[in-house]
């Protein structure tokens, strides 16, 4: 597995995701936002968390149009894997690679806490190491993670089974209380039509070590490396 992490001015989680990928056996290289190509042999392009371009205009708006994103778009069109975490998810929506948009959290607060997610499907390159309905304990840290799509788009996403993860309580129940940012249908992560692109607000890369809280994030990187 060759992973290329696209680094934008203001990205700040690239080292964490690189470490999580290397732990699972992936070879990792960094790509600068102004680069026009991904390294030859790239299997997976990763858009890390952070505050690309200072979140100016809208979160992910400027990054979504960066030169490197043309290469990511071409990679996705060829069926290549793309993973966007947090700001990376916002960039994927802004660039048109995923449907919908990430809006200001419904309660207007930046949220930063542990969060349980329900794994909605496991027949993908991102989640094959999990079991369907499994509750994983990771974390969230964002001010704009409130997933929105118009009713037709939302119906299409649900109808095509493209929800990757939903915010849930510790027992796996989808509750209003567990959906702290107000996302429609408690959506925490979305797949593209062919499920080769995944965007998610929570941070699996934070939870790959027992020493710092848990290892439930490992499944995602293990799935990719398998």
């Amino acid at each position: 597995m060759h992973a290329a992490i696209v680094v934008f001015p203001g990205s700040n989680r690239e080292a964490d995701v690189a470490r999580a990928l290397r732990m699972s056996g992936a070879k990792v290289s960094m790509v600068w936002h102004a680069d026009t190509a991904l390294p030859a042999g790239t299997d997976l392009a990763v858009l890390p968390g952070g505050f690309s371009y200072g979140d100016y205009l809208r979160c992910g708006a400027i990054a979504g149009r960066a030169a490197a994103m043309d290469a990511v778009r071409a990679h996705a069109a060829r069926g290549g894997l793309v993973l966007g975490i947090c700001n990376g998810f916002q960039i994927l929506c802004e660039s048109g690679l995923l449907p919908g948009a990430l809006m200001r959290n419904a309660d207007r607060r930046f949220i930063c806490h542990r969060q349980t997610l329900r794994v909605e499907r496991t027949d993908t390159r991102f989640a094959q190491a999990y079991t369907k309905g499994q509750v994983i304990d990771v974390c969230v840290a964002h001010g704009e993670g409130n997933y929105f799509a118009d009713p037709e788009t939302l119906a299409r996403i649900e109808g095509e089974g493209r929800v990757a993860f939903r915010y849930c309580d510790e027992a796996g129940a989808i509750t209003v209380a567990a959906n702290r940012n107000g996302s429609l249908n408690s959506i925490a992560g979305v797949y593209s039509e062919a499920a080769n692109v995944l965007g998610m607000m929570p941070h699996p890369e934070n939870f790959v070590e027992d020493l710092i809280g848990g290892t439930d994030g490992r499944g995602l990187f293990a799935s990719l490396a398998a």
Binding site: A61, R65, P99, A101, M103, A106, N146, A149, D150, G182
Partner: protein, 79 residues
Amino acid sequence: MKARITVTLKTGVLDPQGKAIEAALKSLGIAGVEGVRQGKVFDLEVATSDAATAQETLKAACEKLLANTVVENYAIEIA
């Protein structure tokens, strides 16, 4: 020529900032405000004197960057 682009949230899109501003107005004793939606204004200088060319440039700017048409509408005014 000068132009102004106004970007607003589409109807039905939740606007937590607008809600907060509405609550702040109430708390300041400004009565009679029944809804607030926050948007953005961009003032641009376009390097042409032809309105049709300017319109085309500005439309491209809105579609490509200034507005996220998934959740926002835009309006172009050419001075």
